[in-house]
């Protein structure tokens, strides 16, 4: 019984962390069709922003939930203005340029911070289920993932901001004719995606440790999740996170964590062969 609870918590945590890791990418790819291969490095920047602000005495929660997203959003806007907006509509070139940006960011951070692992310890301590002990922080991640999904859906569907953003992505000329500045909307959407990436990096920093090259571990997982999800941004994010998170966590229990990763990625490749449009290309059509 205790084991069942532990397995359940771990599976939920795996799903939640996939949601958190992929949310920023889901916004940028789902809305703007920009493949941001620097997503992992945005997470890395968020993690460093959190760690550095904790070091100078900012409260941990403020650092993770406010400082990290805001500072990464600022960097995202800068990069969008200088590089990425020149490449809209050229998907492969965007992919290559953002990969270049990711190497560039790794290089810059390595030069400044050094190639060593920094870390913050997970707050809140542990709680026990029978004979097992679980870090309370896993529950925080699960809660954040739920709040994030609901908030994202609410912003996109029920606020005028979300309406403007979705409208601009569908038809920038029409939005422009209606008095909206599309380039501003693009910047804002990219900033939102970057902020979510930064938040993810900061939230996961206590669990993973922070190195300049940490992004590489997340970017493939995030991409597979977003692409496996299909056209609907939030529904796709949740459904594919649920599928892949469960697969990887169960494989981890059965074998090793490495095998869990492999099962996730291999499962995703097979799934894309069966459902080339992703999960929401077949099911939950018309959802967001």
């Amino acid at each position: 019984m205790d084991l069942a609870v532990i397995v359940l918590i771990q599976v939920l945590y795996a799903i939640a962390s996939l949601v958190v890791v992929s949310a920023g990418l889901a916004v940028v790819f789902g809305m703007m069709k920009v493949i941001n291969l620097a997503h992992g490095e945005f997470m890395m920047l968020g993690a460093y922003a959190a760690i550095e602000s904790v070091r100078i005495g900012v409260n941990l929660w403020v650092a993770m939930l406010i400082v990290a997203p805001v500072s990464v959003a600022a960097i995202g806007v800068l990069l969008e203005r200088v590089f990425i907006r020149r490449l809209y509509g050229r998907m492969i070139d965007t992919m290559l340029a953002t990969w270049g940006l990711s190497l560039l960011l790794i290089g810059i951070v390595t030069s400044i911070m050094g190639n060593t692992t920094a870390g913050i310890s997970a707050p809140l301590g542990n709680f026990s289920v029978g004979a097992y002990s679980v870090s309370s922080y896993t529950l925080v991640i699960i809660a954040v993932a739920i709040v994030l999904a609901i908030a994202l859906r609410w912003v996109l569907l029920h606020t005028s901001l979300g309406l403007i953003a979705r409208g601009t992505m569908q038809n920038p000329q029409m939005a422009n004719a209606l008095g909206i500045n599309p380039s501003l909307v693009y910047s804002a959407t990219f900033a939102l995606g970057a902020a979510l990436s930064g938040l993810a990096g900061a939230l996961l920093a206590p669990m993973t440790g922070v190195v300049p090259t940490m992004g590489g571990a997340f970017v493939a997982k995030a991409f597979i999740t977003v692409i496996g999800g299909g056209p609907a941004i939030v529904a796709g994010l949740i459904s594919s996170s649920a599928l892949f998170g469960a697969i990887s966590q169960l494989a981890t229990f059965a074998m090793t964590p490495v095998f869990g990763e492999v099962a996730l990625l291999a499962g995703a490749i097979v799934m894309l062969r069966l459902l080339p449009q992703g999960i929401t290309g077949r099911f939950f059509k018309g959802a967001l």
Partner: protein
């Protein structure tokens, strides 16, 4: 069947002239001649250390050519070319440790990555996944291989007599030997000649492939997959073939690389390696076969230079180069340099012609070369298609 151009046009370098030169046998012969001269002359000009350095340039150039072919001519952006490279290296290392004689391992290191690419390519092309998915899936496969091989450090991970070694890699890989005689191993100079020879052979093979129908259909798949399919060709099979061929070349490069250092480790599957290959190709020039070689040598030299000092991080420089080339020199060095040369020639001969004359001349050869090709394809494919249906 096409009428020869009037002399007046032939002597004048027009924008089409560069393209025609790049597709002519003259450019292939020129490249081969340069290659053969290097192959013969470098062992005399360089000492052993420099020769070993030159060998790794040739091996990596082979890897660059494999991506240059599948991306530039097949239109398939493979983010995981290093996966096949690494598979080739590991296949050779494991097989040669088990078998002793290196002939079969050499063949295996080509066949196994090709077979792996066939399975992967089947999933991608026959699932009709788009370019973007292609990039992400190949990237993912590379990461899977890296993770798996990286975690095989324990003594329980052995294949036959060969321990996989996990993140430590496999040291002391036996070098290639003459077929049948295990003691007659290849020296540094032989290794250099073999690597450059393999590079030239692969270059020639690919040029020949691109000149025959199979290669033309592969290029056509890149230009317009739907039209190719409507003409009666199986675009999926052609793309799969290009993908598998590139994987085989990358596998061969991996085998040579394992030979070169007598060592292989999981980092050759890594993202950094994949990124480097793409940077070589895009810097050298997409859509050429010489470009990737030039780009590879230039970038390799640059990273070696960066490695000798501490102030600037190599990731930083590589990232900056990639961004700058994508945004500002999307054609790469070789085509841009060619264009620059043509433009300078034109400026030198300038005065005599006006712009309009140049632009009409530019249009003439292009339509002339395109039209017969289209006729040719159409007249061939139509009977083929009907034949297949009746058969």
């Amino acid at each position: 069947m096409s009428t020869p151009l009037p002399d007046r046009h032939a002597s004048i370098p027009v924008p089409g002239a560069l393209e025609r030169f790049a597709h002519s046998w003259k450019s292939a012969a020129l490249t081969l001649a340069v290659g053969v001269v290097l192959l013969v002359a470098l062992p005399f000009a360089l000492d052993d250390f420099a020769l070993v350095q030159a060998t790794v340039y040739a091996v990596m150039a082979l890897l660059a050519v494999s991506l240059g072919f599948v991306w530039g001519f097949g239109g398939i952006l493979c983010f995981g070319q290093s996966a096949f490279f690494g598979l080739g290296a590991y296949t050779y290392a494991i097989a040669v440790t088990n078998l002793g004689d290196s002939t079969v391992p050499l063949l295996l290191s080509i066949v196994l990555p090709a077979a792996f690419a066939a399975v992967l390519g089947y999933l991608i092309f026959y699932g009709r996944l788009s370019d973007v998915y292609m990039g992400v899936i190949t990237l993912t496969v590379t990461l899977i291989l890296f993770n798996v091989v990286n975690s095989t450090a324990g003594p329980e991970w052995t294949i036959g007599k060969a321990p996989l070694g996990g993140f430590n890699g496999i040291p002391n890989i036996a070098p290639l030997n003459m077929p049948g005689n295990v003691d007659d191993v290849i020296g540094p100079r032989g290794m250099f000649e073999l690597s450059v020879g393999a590079l030239l052979a692969v270059y020639l093979l690919l040029r020949a492939l691109l000149a025959v129908k199979l290669g033309r259909v592969i290029v056509a798949c890149k230009e317009n997959e739907q039209r190719v399919a409507l003409l009666g060709y199986d675009s999926r099979a052609h793309k799969l073939f290009a993908f598998v061929l590139a994987a085989a070349i990358a596998g061969l490069a991996g085998c040579l690389f394992a030979n070169w250092g007598a060592f292989t480790s999981p980092t050759i599957f890594g993202l950094a390696q994949s990124a480097q290959i793409i940077i070589w190709v895009i810097v050298g020039g997409l859509g050429t076969l010489v470009g990737p070689i030039v780009g590879c040598v230039a970038i390799q030299w640059l990273t070696t230079q960066i490695g000798t000092q501490q102030a600037i991080n190599s990731n930083l420089v590589l990232g900056a180069i990639l961004v700058v080339f994508v945004l500002m020199v999307p054609k790469g060095i070789v085509p841009s340099a060619g264009q620059l040369g043509v433009r300078m020639l034109k400026a030198l001969r300038g005065g005599r012609r006006d712009v309009a004359a140049v632009s009409t001349q530019a249009a003439v050869p292009r339509t002339r070369s395109a039209a017969p090709a289209a006729d040719h394809e159409a007249s061939h494919s139509a009977p083929n298609a009907s034949h297949e249906e009746t058969a």
